[in-house]
């Protein structure tokens, strides 16, 4: 068990900068998820922590020791790969015990640890099988078992669920969370799936173009994204970005979307946006869940407006509606009984209490 620190870590492949000087502190027992689109440097970062890639510049510390030049086997880490990477010629128990056997642990100790890991992962009856006799989910469990038996300082997961089908992925996600609750080992988990990131993480690290966009708890990232990228990446369907202006109106402020449509800014937020009246490149950020059908008694900050729906997508518990607004397509989530139909008008309400204002030039949330 240990904390992991990254200090100005840089990785260049030939001329390409994959990771551009990132700083990150991961506490003992913490479950941190690195998330971002492909090519954002998250896997490279994980592989540098594992020691599978050399770092070009900066320092990596595990448990207080700088491990820049320490080979992977001496870093006391365990890694779970996307394609499982089980040794095909060994049985499940041989796969799990391989690392311990190399380190010449006593046989009784090896058996104890393998049995314990098999119990945690519920794979006791698979111990004598070969990997090819296992399903995808079982293989991934074995790969996790191989990590658990080593009792390492840090677990590294490199997109472990990407090869599984959707249903199994959700199930294994819960399994991973349960395992972490039991073994409490510091865990760094890489994924491109923001749902996985939100559901698993104590803290999420959003990466883009080799830099860290934001680090925070899932709630922080969801409610107070710091950049347009994070605002758009976290949450599904993604946040709507609508070009707008900030105007002074009736002693307060309002967000003008079109000549005919302007929403008053709630007082709680007005102070923050006071200097934006001159800014011509602003975006109103509103999540689909904050654009709903207007019901009879609207709360303060909920502003009704009329929309002409283009497309509706009934999901069962809710219906996603899409309509044009100031040149962009906006997505809202309405009650399935609100009467949303393709091509028909609907009275909508925007909840401005959850609005974000983004400077389109810098991409920062104001």
């Amino acid at each position: 068990m240990a904390e992991v620190r990254l200090r100005r870590v840089v990785k260049t492949f030939d001329a390409v900068e994959a990771v551009r000087g990132i700083d990150l502190d991961i506490a003992d027992h913490e479950f941190v998820v690195l998330v971002g689109p492909s090519g954002c440097g998250k896997s490279t970062t994980l592989r540098m922590i594992a020691g599978l890639e050399d770092i070009t510049d900066g320092d990596i510390m595990i448990g207080g020791d700088i491990v820049n030049d320490v080979p992977p086997k001496d870093r006391d880490i365990a890694m779970v790969f996307q394609n499982y990477a089980l040794y095909p010629h060994m049985t499940v128990s041989q796969n799990m015990s391989f690392g311990l056997r190399l380190k010449r642990y006593p046989r009784a100790e090896i058996k104890k640890r393998v049995d314990e890991a098999a119990r945690i992962l519920d794979i006791k009856e698979l111990l004598d099988r070969k990997p090819k006799q296992l399903s995808g989910g079982q293989r991934q469990r074995v790969a996790m078992g191989r990590a658990i038996v080593r009792n390492p300082k840090v677990f590294l997961f490199d997109e472990p669920l990407s090869n599984l089908d959707a249903k199994l992925r959700v199930q294994m996600r819960t399994e991973i969370k349960k395992v972490h609750q039991q073994v409490r080992t510091t865990t760094i988990y890489v994924t491109h799936d923001q749902v996985e990131a939100m559901t698993l993480a104590d803290r999420v690290v959003v990466m883009n173009h080799g830099t860290i966009e934001q680090v925070g708890t899932p709630q922080q990232l969801y409610h107070s994204p710091r950049t347009r990228f994070v605002a758009g990446f976290i949450g599904s369907p993604a946040m709507n970005f609508i070009p707008c202006r900030i105007e002074a109106a009736d002693g307060g402020l309002s967000v003008r979307l079109t000549d005919a449509l302007a929403f008053p800014v709630p007082d709680a937020r007005a102070e923050r946006y006071r200097d934006c009246t001159q800014n011509g490149a602003l975006l109103l950020g509103l999540r689909p869940e904050h654009i709903t059908d207007a019901h009879a008694n609207l709360a303060p900050g909920e502003i009704p407006f009329d929309a002409n729906l283009e497309v509706t997508e009934p999901m069962g518990m809710e219906t996603l509606v899409y309509f044009p607004l100031n040149g962009t397509q906006v997505c809202g989530r309405v009650n399935p009984n609100a009467g949303a139909r393709d091509g028909s008008p609907l009275r909508m309400a925007a909840n401005l209490n959850n609005m974000h204002l983004i400077d389109a030039t810098s991409g920062r949330v104001i």
Binding site: A50, G51, L52, P71, P72, K73, I77, A78, M79, F81, Q82, N83, A85, L86, Y87, P88, H89, F98, G99, L102, K103, R146, R150
Partner: protein, 304 residues
């Protein structure tokens, strides 16, 4: 009712072409059997002729009778050869050379292939291509300069390399090592990279990764390479013909023709017997390892 009848009539007029795929397949199968039988006859003719001739006496071979039938079968050729210490000597030489060459080849080419396919070092790709290029140079081009080199070596050190069977132990690997290395590079390249990374994290060094992971996983490729090396060294003709002359130094392929062809007298019965017995060891090995051999060659062919 009338419409129903009409539709049935229409169906009879234009019968749907169900099963056309299986009909095509049946034809393809028939043709492939025709060609396979032709090939089988073509390739089996020589060994069958060898077998028939080996069971005849010299008199019957030279008689004007049907060459494809044995009228007075005899095992005399077999008995004579197998009791001849000379022939057994060739056999022993061939066996020793082949076993040694296969061992050396594997000891060199497996680690070489591992290094070239996995430890990316400066110039590793060029080296891998270079190894394959050396295999493309035929031995017919090499034996003359080699002869000259051996003569020079003799001048400098006084050690005679010509007409020594053990010198073949150094010559044959020049043919087997490049090809086996190439096959193994292809085979190792097909092993996912995560496997050695997992081993690396599990605490294995390079040597342990090779012996505990790569060799067991690439066993079919290893067997293919072994069979290849064995076949090359067992059947090699030019080098032993050029570099060994006296009877006790000869290996089987050269031994048979030098001792059983006296001037222009061909002892066909024994030549055929000797060749047939000589072909037996590779045949037995093939029969046991055929499945692995095919798997190994195809896997090596698509990668690298």
């Amino acid at each position: 009712m009338a419409t129903a009848d009409a539709s049935i009539g229409a169906r009879r007029k234009y019968p749907p072409k169900y099963g056309s795929i299986s009909r095509d397949r049946r034809w393809a199968l028939r043709w492939s059997y025709v060609f396979l039988v032709l090939f089988a006859i073509f390739f089996l003719m020589p060994p069958i002729y060898m077998l028939i001739t080996s069971l005849k006496t010299s008199a019957e071979i030279s008689a004007e009778s049907n060459p494809w039938w044995v009228y007075h079968p005899t095992l005399a050729n077999y008995i004579e050869l197998l009791s001849s210490s000379q022939y057994l000597g060739y056999f022993r030489n061939s066996a020793i050379v082949s076993v040694f060459v296969v061992t050396t080849t594997m000891l060199i080419s497996v680690p070489a292939a591992f290094a070239l396919s996995r430890m990316k070092f400066w110039g590793s790709a060029t080296l891998a291509t270079g190894i394959f290029l050396t295999y493309l140079i035929p031995e017919t081009l090499l034996f003359l300069p080699l002869f000259k080199m051996f003569a020079l070596f003799n001048q400098w050190t006084g050690i005679q390399l010509i007409n020594r069977w053990w010198v073949l132990l150094f010559l044959y690997p020049t043919l087997t090592v490049p090809f086996c290395t190439w096959i193994m590079i292809g085979y190792f390249a097909s092993i996912p990279k995560e496997l050695d990374e997992a081993a690396l994290i599990d605490g294995a060094g390079w040597l342990q990764t090779l012996t505990k992971i790569f060799i067991p996983v690439a066993l079919p490729g290893l067997i293919a390479a072994t069979i290849f090396a064995f076949t090359v060294s067992w059947a090699q003709f030019l080098y032993p013909l050029a570099f060994t002359t006296s009877s006790e130094q000869l290996v089987l392929p050269v031994g048979i023709i030098t001792s059983l062809i006296k001037g222009d007298v061909f002892n066909w019965g024994q030549i055929m017997t000797g060749a047939l017995l000589g072909a037996a060891p590779p045949l037995i090995i093939y029969a046991f390892l055929m499945d692995y051999y095919i798997a190994g060659l195809t896997a090596g062919a698509t990668k690298g």
